[in-house]
């Protein structure tokens, strides 16, 4: 993420040197990276930063609109579409009225292929290529010792199975293995790619609340659709009966609070890591001197190592807690026994 930002910093700094050093404000730069955007900031190192336009897909009350994001960049450029005119305002696409001002009342649903969506397509392609090839290796080398990529990934797969799924789900683990493995590797690869500062990384997908929300909603659905009668009895028939008024709302809240905790944890961990690293890089520009860079670099390398740990750790925790919640919903024996 650092290199992506450097030309941005550079341009900001050039502007800043025209006035004073003190004017550098890291917040927009960091927010630009942490958030999503309608174009991919492609970098020719030390030469230029060129945003690659991405398709914008809008759903309005009159129908679909598809156009390139180059039509509405830089921010504020008004593009007249088939049904309305649009412009970017604070990175959100707004419908523009005749006077050129954003119409706050008009709703437009933005299904654009943004930077994060492209990154996701990319990581998913990588996942598919890697695991389908590994799967074919398994078929070819049936019964033999693992080799190459297979021997690198097998410990991870076995880790998910033996240390996450089986202890929490017991004998029913087989049904949930595909979900747990997919979640684990999806989070892991996006965490790791997010750490690469330039193409193919330089995005913040698992640190995006929309992504973590989708993952936790999937867990919410899986948990509650697989909940057996003990699970529901535990929620709606707590012991003793006079606790009903307190316990039932608490249990209902807990149904939702668990996935929400999952969502916030992953989002906050990854976003915080990215913010810390970018802030350390920003120090160079805040101080306006190259002499601070060794300090920044030492700290950034240190943080990168922690982030590497966090990348694995968060993938592990998310999967572990998912397995735990599913396990609590599908376990057979009564809770009173425990």
């Amino acid at each position: 993420m650092a290199v992506i930002s450097i030309p941005a910093f550079a341009s900001v700094q050039k502007n800043a040197t025209n006035t004073t050093h003190k004017d550098f404000d890291p917040t927009p730069v960091i927010m630009e990276h942490i958030g999503d955007s309608h174009s991919w900031p492609f970098v020719f190192p030390l030469v230029a930063e060129k945003p690659i336009p991405l398709p914008v897909i809008l759903y309005t009350d009159k129908g679909m609109e598809v156009f390139s994001s180059s039509k509405i960049t830089p921010e504020g450029t008004v593009y007249a579409g088939n049904y309305y005119s649009y412009k970017l305002q604070e990175k959100k696409i707004k419908i523009v009225d005749a006077t050129g001002k954003a119409d706050e009342k008009a709703t437009v649903y933005d299904f654009s292929i943004t930077r994060n969506v492209v990154s996701m397509f990319m990581t998913i392609t990588v996942l598919l290529i890697v695991f389908l090839s590994v799967s074919s290796t398994y078929k070819k080398r049936a019964g033999k010792a693992p080799k190459g990529l297979q021997s690198f990934l097998e410990p991870l797969i076995l880790f998910v199975r033996d240390d996450i799924a089986i202890p929490n789900l017991g004998i029913k683990y087989v049904r949930f293995m595909p979900l747990l493995l997919t979640i684990f590797f999806f989070i892991l690869i996006n965490n790791l790619f997010g750490m690469i500062p330039f193409f193919p990384g330089g995005f913040n997908l698992t640190g995006n609340i929309a992504v973590t929300m989708v993952l936790s909603v999937i867990i919410l659905l899986v948990v509650n659709l697989n909940g057996n009668k003990h699970y529901w009895k535990h929620i709606f028939m707590p012991n003793p009966w006079w606790l009903f008024p307190i316990m039932i709302p608490v249990e209902i809240v807990s149904i939702f609070s668990k996935p929400i905790a999952l969502m916030i944890r992953l989002f906050a961990n990854i976003t915080a890591g990215h913010i810390v690293i970018l802030s350390l890089i920003s120090l160079i520009f805040i101080f306006g001197t190259l002499w601070i860079s060794p300090v920044s670099i030492v700290f950034v390398v240190f943080m990168d190592m922690i982030e590497l740990l966090v990348a694995f750790l968060q993938a592990y925790i998310f999967t572990l807690l998912s397995a735990l919640f599913i396990g609590m919903a599908v376990e057979e024996h009564h809770h009173e026994v425990i």
Binding site: M31, I34, G35, D36, I57, E90, Y109, D110, F111, S112, I113, T114, N116, V117, M120, F121, I124, L127, L128, F131, L132, V134, S135, Y138, K139, A142, G143, K144, E154, I157, L158, R161, V174, M177, P178, L179, L181, T182, F186, N208, I209, A210, V211, M213, V214, L215, I218, F267, T271
Partner: protein, 163 residues
């Protein structure tokens, strides 16, 4: 606040992507991979069990062999001992029989010698007798060639005869 507001677009694409990913990987990657791993684990386990069984079998065979060997050794010792006893017995028997035979033969030889001696003695006696007779005859013949001597003898004999 913008950070914690999920974008509908990203929610939409993430859902689609994740469900597709889950479907494809679940069908074409996780299932075969987990099955292959399971199969391999099973085969390793059976191989280990078989090895263990083979080890037990080996140990059993070794024990059996050792027992057999021990038994064979004991039997061999027994046979050797018996053979030694038998040998000693045979030797002593042979000695004894040789002794008695020797005695018997010596005895027989002595008897034979005695017999022969007796026969020889008898023979010698006969010869001596006949020789004596011959000598006596010759002497008598010589003596009686001279009449005077005959008379003398008769006279002497007559003198000797006491009535």
């Amino acid at each position: 606040m913008e950070l914690v507001t999920p974008d509908i677009g990203l929610v939409f694409w993430t859902t689609i992507c994740f469900v597709i990913l889950l479907f494809i990987l679940g069908k074409f990657a996780w299932k075969p991979i987990l099955e292959a791993v399971k199969e391999r684990e099973n085969s390793i386990e059976t191989a280990l069990q078989r090895a263990e069984a083979a080890k037990d079998e080996m140990a059993r065979l070794t024990n059996e062999n050792e027992a057999l060997l021990k038994q064979a050794r004991v039997e061999r010792d027994l046979i050797l001992q018996e053979a030694r006893k038998l040998k000693d017995q045979i030797i002593s028997e042979a000695k004894e029989s040789a002794n008695t035979e020797g005695h018997r033969m010596i005895e027989m030889a002595r008897i034979e010698i005695n017999n022969q001696k007796a026969i020889a003695m008898a023979d010698v006696k006969n010869q001596v007798a006949s020789l004596s007779l011959e000598i006596a005859e010759k002497i008598l013949n010589k003596q009686f060639e001279d009449q005077k001597k005959q008379d003398e003898l008769v006279a002497q004999l007559l003198k000797e005869v006491k009535l």
